[in-house]
Subunit: 764 residues, 2 copies
């Protein structure tokens, strides 16, 4: 809600929209936020953020537990070190953020570490609470977009104290300049008054090996302090108000006055611009001391978004939890940092923590596009703004710094997706420039940061030769992104650009080794050197003295000790997976695999022999590939199998890193019964897992999907009607949804002829 309100003040035409949203919210009386369970996917590989957050919210307070994992939180038993204000959700690799740690304790002002074991941990959307056992202090947390709110309840008559640590962060390693480790740069702390402390933390590195970012804060208390002790390094300075930045860690211990209350409320404003802005963020967002009001506003904000997709009231509680938690996870990131950009100023949207678009382009961004095309427009415009000022769109970005790249330059897919789906308010001419920058200007030594690594070779040879890291998926990804460029260029009437890139869209064929078979499957993306020779045994890395080789097969995952784990032929997957990742030319892929029957066998082998990897993004579209051989029933079976086996409502309910909601949005789409081919204008239709889904769209038009007679047994589509007319194709255009309407499925217990004749799009 807050977000929409801020828009109103700017653009009058938004007023109607805001009113519409409010109406929708009133209509959806069920408080959908209650179905969100932040614990889902918090353990195991999921690594979701468990604390309170606004949709796309900049501030994400959470307990930070030893030994400081990616999301900050760890399951019990693990001590809580304190509560940091900035986190990311679902990430792998070296941690990022975890800044400005606060921790309540009782007693005298000594020591910087007040870690505690915990009990009674509670998590709900927008709310976290825990009892810190060491001193029996209850901590409750909620948040606004740029300021968090803490309520500490101390034992009666305890000496109430609080530590604020401006030197804390996740992923610290003792070795300077360790790869992917966050590194301390500096910090400052200042006691401003008896109810205010401010300062900052400056950190560099982390997963994207980024430049230094600064998290400024301003903390205000509803109880006055009676005394304090600042620290720098290992030394304490009782009563000294300020510790300036000398490249050492600083913080402060505060003792609150004894008073009538055992409760201390603390608001922590955060800014990436300045301490003054951090203070203003508190003043703007929480100009009161009501924890409940802050929480209620946050819940409203989420309910407004969650209610845009209404599902069957009779769905099971587990289904509701899985679905709405999926939407919730999808909208935690990227984060809206408009007016919080220390690099350039202006009112244009600025978003950070694209982490990574390689993960999110497939399902997260398409889901955001459905829920709020205006938000997705902002996100795309933020990417274009970054291109304008930093030179390249990011594939990932965090801490105001592009990096890393994992495969292609996937921001291009977001642009093609926006263009194909008719998002307005985007300068597509500028967007094409940004795409062409990726596709024509090599990033030089910064190929791990942005742009396309191996571009000169790709543009010369039509493929990335083996000696360049990730040659396999770089080639397939670039080919798809070249298709994306071609489509946008075509739409803009740039014919020569279209001609060049539609040709390059075929480049995956240059690494397709037709005669290679394995486990009955024919044709794989395989390594080739720059002279054009296929490589059966491959040299790994560059070494003067040793020239070890070993056999490369489509199942190879091995990397020898002396090359980096991201330097193999594929990033985080095998050729079995990536050879099926040709999203623009699936009919050609079917043909190259030996025709429909051979392709079916190939898919069956992939799933049955578990060559499919449920826990990572490269295979997200794969279960739907049966559609292209006229067997949506088989897609449905595979999808249900995956969901049943790998997704649930427990803390281990996500099979892989959630990656800013990538996993979660995949699930949400599959539950609704359709799935996007990101970058293109259509969705594949599958059997829904919900009897009823209504998309209350931002344009005011509803689109409804009803699955008549759906049951565990009746999992196959017998027939379909779109707006009352027979609909026999297993895919639907985005425009059909945007225009509003009804899609009605009749379900049955056996595979039928539905969707077997008219096959989904794709170039041969």
């Amino acid at each position: 809600m807050l977000n929409i309100h801020s828009r109103i003040s700017k653009i009058c035409s938004c007023l109607l929209m805001a009113l519409l949203s409010t109406v929708q919210l009133t209509k959806a009386q069920t408080a959908l936020h209650q179905y969100v369970d932040p614990r889902i996917g918090s353990e195991g590989l999921g690594r979701v953020f468990i604390g309170p957050s606004y949709p796309f919210g900049m501030v994400k307070p959470s307990p930070d537990c030893t030994p400081r994992p990616n999301s900050g939180w760890l399951p019990d038993p693990a001590p809580v070190t304190g509560f940091g204000q900035v986190h990311v959700s679902g990430t792998g690799g070296g941690p990022k953020y975890g800044n400005i740690l606060i921790m309540p304790f009782k007693g005298s002002l000594t020591g910087t570490d007040h870690s505690s074991m915990r009990q009674d941990e509670k998590m709900a959307l927008g709310y976290y609470s825990v009892l810190l056992k060491k001193h029996n202090i209850k901590t409750e947390i909620t948040t606004a977009e740029k300021a968090s709110f803490y309520k500490f309840t101390y034992p009666r008559n305890a000496a109430k104290a609080l530590a604020i640590d401006a030197g804390f962060f996740l992923g610290e390693q003792p070795v300077p300049d360790s790869r992917e480790a966050q590194q301390f740069v500096g910090s400052e702390i200042e006691v401003v008054s008896e109810t205010e402390v401010r300062g900052y933390s400056r950190i560099r590195g982390g997963w994207n090996n980024g430049a230094a970012y600064t998290v400024f804060f301003d903390a205000v208390f509803d109880q006055p302090i009676k005394n304090f002790s600042t620290w720098k390094g290992t030394k304490f300075f009782p009563g000294i108000k300020q510790q300036f930045d000398s490249g050492q860690k600083t913080g402060v211990l505060l003792a609150f006055k004894n008073g009538s209350t055992d409760t201390v409320n603390v608001k922590v404003g955060i800014s990436f611009v300045s301490e003054g802005k951090a203070k203003d963020n508190i003043d703007q967002e929480i100009p009161h001391w009501s924890f409940e009001k802050t929480l209620a506003q946050l819940q409203n904000s989420w309910n407004n978004l969650l209610s845009r997709i209404e599902i069957d009231k009779d769905a099971t509680l587990d289904q509701k939890k899985m679905f709405y938690t999926g939407l919730y996870h999808t909208m935690l990131m990227p984060v809206n940092r408009t007016h919080e950009n220390p690099l350039w100023s202006g009112d244009e949207p600025y978003y950070d923590d694209f982490y990574a678009i390689w993960d999110t382009f497939r399902s997260s961004n398409p889901l955001i596009t459905l829920i709020s095309p205006k938000r997705q427009t902002e996100i795309v415009n933020a990417l274009l703004n970054i291109y304008k000022h930093d030179g390249y769109m990011p594939d990932a970005r965090s801490g105001n710094y592009n990096g890393r790249t994992q495969g292609g330059s996937n921001a291009e897919v977001l642009i093609a997706d926006a263009y194909a789906k008719g998002l307005t308010g985007i300068n597509y001419s500028l967007a094409l420039d940004a795409m062409l920058k990726d596709a024509t200007v090599p990033p030089g030594g910064l190929e791990e940061k942005e742009g396309r690594g191996g571009l000169p070779e790709y543009n010369k040879l039509g493929y990335v030769p083996y000696h360049i890291p990730r040659a396999g998926n770089r080639t397939t990804d670039y080919a798809y992104e070249d298709y994306c460029i071609a489509m946008v260029a075509k739409g803009l009437g740039k014919n020569s650009v279209y001609q060049r890139f539609i040709k390059q869209a075929d480049n995956w064929r240059n690494l397709w080794r037709d005669d290679y078979t394995q486990h009955g499957a024919k044709g794989f993306i395989m390594p080739k050197d720059s002279a054009g020779h296929w490589l059966d045994t491959i040299p790994y890395g560059i070494s003067v003295n040793q020239h070890p080789t070993f056999t490369y097969t489509p199942l190879s995952r091995e990397y020898p000790w002396y090359v980096c784990h991201w330097c193999g032929f594929f990033y985080e997957a095998t050729s079995w997976e990536y050879s099926l990742s040709i999203p623009h030319q699936i009919p050609a892929l079917v043909e190259k695999s030996g025709g429909k029957e051979a392709f079916k066998q190939r898919l069956d082998t992939l799933f049955d022999k578990k060559f499919y990897n449920v826990d990572n993004e490269p295979s997200f579209l794969t279960p739907c590939l049966y559609h292209w051989i006229g067997r949506p029933d088989l897609s449905t079976r595979r999808i249900r199998q995956i969901v049943t086996e790998s997704f649930n409502t427990t803390s281990n309910g996500l099979p892989g890193n959630d990656d800013s909601g990538a996993m979660s949005s995949w699930l949400a789409f599959q539950m609704m019964g359709f799935y996007p081919n990101a970058g293109q204008s259509y969705y594949l239709l599958n059997s829904p897992m919900l009897k009823h889904v209504t998309l209350h769209q931002e344009n005011g038009k509803d689109f409804t999907i009803t699955a008549k007679n759906l049951s565990d047994k009746n999992m196959y589509i017998k027939s379909a009607k779109l707006n009352g007319k027979d609909y026999n194709q297993s895919w639907i255009e985005h425009a059909n949804i945007v225009n509003g309407g009804q899609l009605l499925f009749e379900m049955t217990d056996k595979p039928t002829n539905w969707g077997t004749q008219i096959l989904p799009p794709g170039k041969n």
Copy 2:
């Protein structure tokens, strides 16, 4: 002195050195700083900084005059807008810095612009004063390294007021993202107490199109304020203490209490890290209110350095002023920002404002190496630190951001120079890595920022083909830098690296067009396309509709309207100049020009027809080239002619942009009678312009040059003795100087045989 003191605390072995320095200072009783005239080169093209500054000092306060030129200052009549704290010296292109403007005025607290005309302007080393006529306020300025000191004397009983503008900067342009224009990002201001104000200014862009940098400040007053009015944008807020950063310009007007004094002293601490650090910089450097003491410390610091080169006591006042002002200009930049780095922390040296090494490598850095090898070692180590953290050494760097490149990757010359001259305390293995990064990893789309543009083509073809900007000087510069790499690699025993790069050192020959003659000169560096064809008429730029060409000749300077002025074949010079810029293979150059006599003719034509450009660096070595044909007498004549015609002690006393002391150091070397071939271990010996020069070296050993019988007429060397032995070669090794000794010239009025037989080094 302060700088040396800080070293003592770290390294005990420095103690002896510091004592030695103090002894030297005491020995040189003449206050050499009195010979420094900051006005020399301040008008016309010189653009030197005219305010007070420590050697390599971070803070450089100066009047900023409308319309805000590069150094801030303009000659009268031009209004003084105020006094900014950070400036650069001698630069061209878009301005940088000019941050945190303060301006005294009298009367009520209204308006942000208190510009005034001036009179009685005085400039001396470390001191500036002026009467601001509008309100008759005398302003005096001196400075410490990181904090400036102002003394404002108001008319008796005036309502004393001061404006502090955190939004001011040089080079503002109304168009967003204008090339080379500084752009406003944000600012903040806060009245801390009745004697303290702090805040910051965040700016991006400028000449190097850099990312945002932040100048934090803390200002303290010796008189309390009675009231104030902060501003943001165009609105004033009387009595409101803080204006947070909302991307608008902020500032404050202060009214001082009426008291017994008409004087207000203001100290402005500056930091690139934080406001707290800015405050600490005041506390550390000026823990008192004595303007005189601050000024005296600054003078001492300079005298310590200036006295390391003692010249003939009987030299004319003009000679003394030209020489010592030359040394002074040479040591204004780069600036020491150790412990002021917002990008990474640590005690390693950090320097900024390399502006640009393309300008300074030829004479400024070699002169610093002679005066203080320890300082030059710090500068080289700062470059290596930047390489380690930012990926490339800069060719230029300002505002904590690499860029731009003008020709080669000239930091490599600094490394080769340090290696050749035996500087210790540098990790040369790391340095070779840094050089190889430049020479092997293309900077991609960031070729204007760092690294070598056109590198893939250069490494493939052996030259940069015409279609790439600055193909001509990139080729000659890269060839020389490849020679530098080869020399360091050879010294480190890296034979394969040596073999590759010593071969590449010949690459200038690939653009040498043997059969091309003009004005009697044979052979020129000429444009060639990637297919290997010489281009007589050249297409400029890339245009779909127009294909204009025009004749390219060695005198061409023209660039058509549709390409950028730095996109021609050479940067800021013609082929006449650059064809002589082959500093490692001058014997080969002589031969390719048709032999000694032809080469003499060529040089004569260059100078007589004024194809030589006195106002820019590419020709710095050229007057000495006569040495290689055994005619040092002709070098001497040309050098004297240049000095007489183009250098003097007036405000127009420098013929071109001083470029961080490049022009000035060229002059200082020529006055002493020797000149470096930067990157190599020797100096060319010329006739001195001073009868006596003593280098009091940091190692404690003196080296003396005496020119017996020197007069205006007796300008030729008749004979020379080094340490008492006949010395007939016209060049001397750095080691000869470092070891201490005496070089004695006998001068005469006619050219002699001296230096005609043994020619200076250089590969054929």
